[in-house]
Symmetry: C2
Subunit: 201 residues, 2 copies
């Protein structure tokens, strides 16, 4: 146990695909996985708590952490910073605890570069056409915002082939079970096991 | 479906580890997988049927098939030939059907060389020391045969690290479920999926 590193799992998916629900169900099945809390400069939405959903930072605080090289990855999207603290990942991994990150395609690519052993999973909807139609149809967003999201879907689509796994969120429970199976199977990889234990009994 | 190849799964394990039972349970969970029947020159044991457990061939027949380049791999162990026919693998794979092979470490290595996309799984006992003790203790074999099997275990152990996955057969049902999960997860790999289907709806 002690000389076994934890596994890093990165989950991405299109906006509106239901990532949050799926990830929540994964945690219910695998309660020992640690969810890495991201930092952001955006304002908390109703019900969101600092240190639970995000670490909510001011722009000055965020930029100070950039200067201190505290992030393993960060991005600035439109108006806000988002980033993952090294401390949120490296400590649990060293203790043999698996860590799950929810990241966009840019963040996922950075993590894969820095942690080649990480497992990356992309969640797609059963139909991309339906996802686009829903976006356009829900009427809660400006034309600008809709067009930006559609462009995002186009851009992110090109990156799916760089992921290790791709799962479809048709039924959230089924999709979560597939991710749970992926995590369990990855732990059975010879490259992740300490085979010496088998022989030193 | 039609432009998706089947997956080749190779299962190996020490003699006496209970491979047969585990593989049987895998087939019960995944009845669509095809078991590739091997050829052998050894005599059928009681209850074994030609074309079910093995294709039982004479040495002449086997060597004729070698000459005709009909085998994807074959080995001669002590007194008998064992081999896998190309036709047993390539036809179902092309039809999109998964194929499972039970092979020793030499055969598994050959398959992995020829089919780099194949998934190789090694089944270990919970304790190698206990497996050895059982071999020595069961009294049904000559000293020569026991020593040969112990050497086999030593030799095969060195090859475990070349496998993709290593599973422990503590409870056969649990071990079989782990292999079923591995097969299902492997199918979710981006490299095995036809992502074009996602966009051409």
């Amino acid at each position: 146990m002690s000389d076994k590193q934890g596994m890093l799992i990165v989950v991405s998916g299109f906006s509106g695909v239901g990532k949050g629900t799926v990830v929540q169900l994964v945690f219910e099945s695998l309660p020992n996985i640690q969810f890495s809390i991201s930092c952001t400069t955006r304002k908390p939405r109703s019900g969101e708590e600092n240190g639970v959903n995000y670490f909510f930072l001011s722009e000055e605080e965020f930029e100070q952490k950039i200067a201190n090289d505290e992030f393993v990855e960060y991005t600035k999207t439109f108006t806000n910073y988002y980033g993952t603290l090294k401390s949120e990942i490296d400590k649990p991994l060293k203790q043999g605890v698996d860590v799950l990150l929810e990241l966009n395609v840019v963040g996922a690519r950075r993590i894969k570069e820095m942690y080649p052993d990480s497992v990356t999973v992309f969640i797609t909807p059963p139909s991309i056409a339906a996802l686009k139609a829903r976006l356009i149809g829900r009427g809660s967003e400006t034309q600008d915002s809709i067009e930006r999201r559609l462009r995002e879907i186009e851009n992110e689509s090109k990156d799916i082939e760089k992921y290790d796994y791709c799962v479809t969120n048709n039924i959230a429970r089924t999709c979560a079970d597939e991710i749970v199976n992926i995590i369990r199977s990855e732990h059975l990889k010879v490259s992740r096991q300490n085979l010496k234990n088998l022989f030193n009994e």
